[in-house]
């Protein structure tokens, strides 16, 4: 009896240590990025594009990458929303009992697991076929593929959370499934839909491997869909690859900016969602 108790104690200790270890990794990562990034962070980094000799340690900032990333991820998120919402509604309203639903859900899970570099390669092949060069549009296409499964699964879950009686209420007034979907369910699920969109946006803005092939990199602000666009993750990567400590420090600051954007988004999504829920039933 005693031995079993001791065994349980030992394992419980191990478990608690593991949990603490996992959480301390998060803290360690954030602390490292803040500690090394904060000293190098200044306003000109946020507000300027790279000047001549930027990668040798001279004047300039990474506004090109910030704006490029926002354009890339923003465009991809908008596209992905236009594709994801209908799919999520289809899964919920029209394919609940059919095998299509199962196949589509499985495909989405599999798509979720496909590495972003593969999406990059696929988008690159598409661009070759379409005759596109490395450009904002190419990056948006690649990121859309990457964001699609994340967003659709999130929206699917958000819509599934809507109480079935709400749908019944609408049906019993003679509304069709489409009317119920658009006028009632989407409205009720807005917080969840928004959260999954922002989650996808965060994933898109942080991804490097897929834009590497497709968006290229430039020192200028994005002006055209058909010109290359910079992105934060690549800016970090390139700055870190230089041998100059001053530039490397900027990479840390850029990493801090990127982390701030991504984490800020996930916190903000809850705030915004709270405001849009005037009529939502809890």
């Amino acid at each position: 009896m005693k031995a079993t108790k001791v065994e349980e104690k030992i394992f419980l200790t191990i478990m608690i240590c593991s949990t603490v270890f996992v959480l301390s990794c998060l803290i360690l990562i954030l602390a490292t990025v803040i500690w090394r990034g904060l000293p190098a962070l200044n306003l000109s980094m946020l507000l300027q594009t790279p000047k001549g000799g930027f990668y040798l340690g001279k004047e300039g900032g990474i506004l090109n990458a910030i704006m490029g990333s926002l354009f890339l991820a923003g465009g991809a998120t908008a596209l992905a929303m236009a594709i994801s919402l209908p799919i999520a509604l289809f899964l919920h309203f029209y394919a609940k009992r059919s095998w299509h639903g199962g196949v589509v859900r499985l495909a989405l899970d599999v798509l979720w697991g496909i590495p972003s570099i593969v999406y990059g390669a696929f988008a690159f092949i598409l661009m070759l076929w379409l005759g596109l060069r490395a450009s904002l549009l190419g990056g948006i296409i690649a990121l859309t593929f990457l964001e699609l499964p994340i967003m659709t699964r999130g929206m699917d879950e958000a819509i599934n959370m809507v109480h079935p009686l709400l749908k019944e209420s609408s049906y019993s007034l003679g509304a069709t499934r489409l009317e119920t979907a658009l006028k009632i369910v989407v409205r009720q699920a807005i917080p969840g839909l928004l959260t999954s969109s922002l989650l996808a946006f965060g994933r898109g803005i942080g991804d490097a491997a897929s834009v590497l092939f497709t968006a290229g990199f430039t020192d200028h602000l994005p002006t055209s869909l058909f010109k290359p666009a910079a992105s934060l993750p690549l800016a970090i990567f390139f700055q870190l690859s230089t041998p100059f400590p001053a530039v490397q420090n900027r990479a840390y600051a850029s990493a801090l900016i990127l982390t701030g954007i991504v984490l800020g988004l996930s916190i903000m999504s809850r705030r915004i969602a709270g405001r849009l829920t005037e009529h939502v039933i809890r």
Partner: protein, 258 residues
């Protein structure tokens, strides 16, 4: 020939392998209140939802038989299910306001059916009028007329249920199905709903499912008694309550079953 408003003919419902309703044949006369009573789990709600095809929305349901409404078998493949539900209103056990304002809740149905209502002589410019009339009919107008644009979720449960009633009435259904309409309400709110239904029965056919025998005695003009998915007895309330023909009816009324 005598024509009931709704005729249920040899009606069977299965949930998966569970035979929920067995060969039900019953008439629901036009106008007045028909109550469906019986012990819990006997298929009352299933029978009610058979009458506006809300059954369609449940997974794994299979049906056999017919439900005739105004000379149409509503399960006929040519029938538009949304039209059935426009003709047959539904009041759920728990009030579920739609995620919009009080006004929009009532106007939701008329807006969807604008075309239909116009062809029946309605006037689509008069949404305000429709909303007011139906809120009055549900006995809610005086309480909400100053805050029509506020969210419906802020009303009390009893008010929400009357809003749901107004919302259902706004589509001008000929039949109103009520699934234990007062079960989530306090006695005073319940009384208000009951009174509204009593007032509405002069123009509409109302079907009420209830597990409260006393409520059935108060309201019913006609009674359908179910027991384990089968029809036990049906007829005018006076006859069923005072002079039941079936042993099981007597036992149920005496409180031995259920």
């Amino acid at each position: 020939m005598y024509d009931p408003h709704i005729r249920i003919n040899k009606w069977n419902v299965w949930y998966g392998s569970d035979h929920a309703l067995v060969n039900i044949t019953a008439d629901i006369p036009a106008k007045g209140i028909t109550t469906i009573i019986g012990p819990s789990g006997c298929g009352k709600t299933t029978l009610l939802k058979s009458m506006n095809r809300l059954l369609d929305e449940m997974a794994g349901t299979r049906v056999k038989g017919q439900v005739w409404l105004d000379g149409i078998n509503i399960y006929d493949p040519g029938v538009d299910v949304t039209e059935v539900r426009t003709r047959v209103g539904f009041l759920a056990p728990k009030p579920f306001p739609l995620p919009m304002s009080i006004y929009d809740n009532v106007a939701y149905g008329p807006r969807i059916h604008r075309h239909t209502l116009n062809s029946r002589g309605g006037n689509d410019h008069d949404l305000d009028g429709i909303v007011e009339n139906n809120l009055r009919a549900a006995g809610l107008w005086e309480e909400v007329k100053d805050r029509l644009r506020t969210s419906a979720t802020r009303l009390s449960t009893g008010q929400q249920q009357r809003l749901c009633l107004a919302r259902a009435l706004a589509v001008e259904p000929d039949v109103l199905l009520c699934d234990e309409p007062t079960s989530a309400l306090d006695p005073i709110a319940a009384q208000k709903i009951e009174a509204q239904l009593q007032a509405l029965k002069k123009e509409r056919t109302i079907v009420v499912v209830t597990h409260m025998l006393r409520q059935a005695r108060r309201m019913a003009d006609y009674v359908i008694l179910l027991w384990m998915g089968e029809l036990v007895e049906t007829g005018p309330a006076m006859q069923v309550f005072v002079n039941p023909r079936d042993e099981r009816t007597r036992a149920y009324l005496d409180g031995d079953i259920g």
